[in-house]
Amino acid sequence: MAFPIIPIAYGVGAVKFLSDVWKADEYAREARHVNYEAFTMIEAAARRLHSQYEKLESTMMKLANRKKGIMSVTLKDFIGVYEKILKIDFEEMHTVDSLNSLALRPENLSGINQMISISGVQMSDKEILGTFLFSWEYGGVSGAIKKDARINLDIAYTRSDEAEVIAHNTDTARIALEGIDDKANSLLTLLARLNALFLKSIQYTSEIIERRGLNKRNYSVDDKKALMNCVNFAKTLADILKAPLFDSNGKLSGQIDKTLSTGNEYIKKMQAVK
């Protein structure tokens, strides 16, 4: 009774084989697509971050030069003129060092390096045929092929999820760099405007000092008001040059750190899942 069923079972089994192989192919295609998307996502995010980093580096360099210029030219001029009538205590700063410490560097972002180590997912030829040849052990030739493809697809999605988190974190870093760049540009403009006013004030008061000489009693109220303005500009610029780019209490740096390390923690958590 049951023997005629066997050839039928083989026939139907063959259909299952083909259907499973076909499904495996679909899984493989989907896995390749998912992997491609994941790596594109990471690459695009990393490129954006790198480009923003280059932009910020250029702004910071301009800022450092401007600070250096004000420090070594304008403030020196002021001191040269005012030293004749006032005792001045001025301590020069190492502007470049302090500026560099403000910049975020991509190598500080763990996710970028981790992503580089993730390789493409594809079933090797050896794997698939090795599996096929001993099909009975796995519950059917096609079942094995489909199963491996399914596993690879799951792995691809897993990596895609990791990639999404890493890309998100990379974009967060870029946004932080953008914020810093924006602030640095505002400071560049502010320094330029104040420096222009300060230069005029030095020029104007140097004529007064030239005219009135060292005897302070020769100075009128208006003269002294002009000197007061110039001194206030000098103090203002000196304070700005000494101040950090962002809040002195480090609140923003703290927030940036917190935001990025949140992402990094989750990435580690994902990679710890076996």
């Binding site: 045929l129 897993t158 988190v165 935001t259 992402g263 989750y266 076996k274």
Partner: protein, 418 residues
């Protein structure tokens, strides 16, 4: 002579006499499956136990357990010795047939679809592996048969003595069989199969791929071409039908049913073969013993096929499930991560925006005051303007009023600290 020794001697003497008289009678009544000598031993043991009960050496429960265990163990040992070899032979026959079937399918497919040289190489490797698996399975199944027969015999005895009903006995045998098969056949066979898979995967398969010169999925598909549905495959490749039509045309419904029917049939066949022998030996009443034996064991053997199949599927599924489970966990972490990261990013962005607003406003207000003070020649307003700007940097102007500056300026000891 001590009292106990005398009692034992008497007990043995009585038991011996009873057994000597009763064994030929009982043996004749129960046929020739159990010898007269065996019955003599059973009767002698039973008589001794009865005397223990009568003299109070054992209570009723002790006597019953002792009698049952002793008799059951003896029968089980005897049956196992006699029945295990034919059962083992049947199991090996079945296993060999299954392996040969797999070999034949692979061989035919390879012959039709692969170049002759590759096909020859591949089938030679398959032949070696099939033989190795057959040998390994034969060893494993010999061990399995002893264990299955021994445990099944005890259960059938329980059924015969009314301690288990039919359902309980069937379930017990099925469970015992599954456990033994899983332990002895599946676990050990798996190791051999993996070794062989690695061996072939390492040489012939690689050569097949190199020679065929196509990717693995195509190679796998090529093996299908030679199957009985190759015309449909060609239609599919020629674009005459699409994938969906292809699947429908060949028809995949009924697969599970067909496979299960085959599995069940083979199981029942084996069951009937050795179940009847066990049943007839244990319960030497024609028909009844065979029916009970073959039915119970057929159930167990159908269970055996299903158990092997289920074990393999589970083993297989566990790998798929592990990857799928990992995907689920990671997906959940991702969702949590993105939500938390988005929140943190929002806080950071707000901080930047608030800071920028405050900063720009101070700068704008500061320059407006500077401008206003310049037009009105009011140095104190200009100082306020600079102060406003300095709020962004945590600084302060040197002099906020003219008087402060004047006092400082006129004092020759004053030092301007920048």
């Amino acid at each position: 002579m001590a009292y106990e020794e005398y009692g034992d001697k008497l007990k043995n003497k009585i038991a011996g006499k009873v057994a000597e008289k009763a064994a030929p009678v009982v043996s004749k009544k129960f046929g020739d499956k159990v010898s007269e000598e065996d019955f003599r031993e059973f009767i002698s043991d039973g008589t001794k136990t009865s005397l223990d009960l009568a003299t109070g050496t054992k209570n009723f429960d002790e006597a019953t357990i002792y009698a049952k265990d002793k008799t059951c163990s003896k029968i089980a040992d005897k049956v196992t010795k006699e029945i295990a070899p034919p059962v083992s032979r049947e199991l090996v026959k079945f296993s060999d047939a299954a392996l040969e079937r797999s070999y034949k399918v692979s061989y035919e497919l390879a012959e039709v679809t692969l170049p002759p040289r590759i096909s020859k190489e591949l089938t030679r490797d398959l032949r070696i592996s099939t033989n190795r698996l057959k040998k390994a399975n034969a060893d494993n199944l010999n061990a399995a048969a002893v264990e299955i027969v021994s445990s099944s015999t005890k259960t059938i005895f329980d059924f015969a003595t009314g301690e288990k009903n039919f359902d309980e006995a069937s379930r017990a045998i099925a469970t015992q069989t599954k456990v033994v098969v899983k332990k002895v056949v599946v676990e050990k066979g798996k190791e051999i199969a993996i070794q062989e898979a690695k061996r072939i995967g390492g040489n012939a398969a690689q050569k097949v791929l190199l020679n065929v010169g196509i990717n693995s999925n195509v190679a796998a598909k090529a093996l299908v071409f030679g199957s009985m549905i190759k015309d449909n495959v060609l239609d599919l490749l020629d674009g005459k039908i699409d994938e969906e039509q292809f699947i429908k045309e060949v028809g995949k419904k009924g697969l599970t049913l067909a496979i299960e029917t085959v599995g069940g049939f083979v199981g029942a066949e084996i069951g009937a073969t050795y179940g009847a022998v066990i049943g007839q030996t244990l319960i030497p009443i024609p028909v009844v013993g065979a029916v009970i034996g073959s039915t119970v064991t057929a159930v167990a053997c159908s269970g055996l096929i299903v158990a092997v199949d289920a074990t393999l599927k589970l083993w297989d599924a566990s790998k798929v499930n592990a990857a799928a489970d990992r995907r689920k966990i990671i997906s959940k972490i991702k969702t949590d991560a993105l939500a938390e990261m988005e929140h943190q990013r929002g806080v950071m962005k707000k901080y930047f925006a608030d800071e920028k607003y405050k900063w720009d406003k101070n700068v704008q207000d500061g320059f407006e005051l500077i401008s206003k003070g310049t037009y009105s020649n009011d140095v104190e307003i200009i100082a306020k303007g600079l102060d406003k700007i300095l709020q962004n940097f945590g600084g302060q102007v040197a002099f906020s009023s003219y008087k402060e500056f004047d006092d400082f300026f006129m004092d020759d000891n004053s030092v301007l600290k920048l």
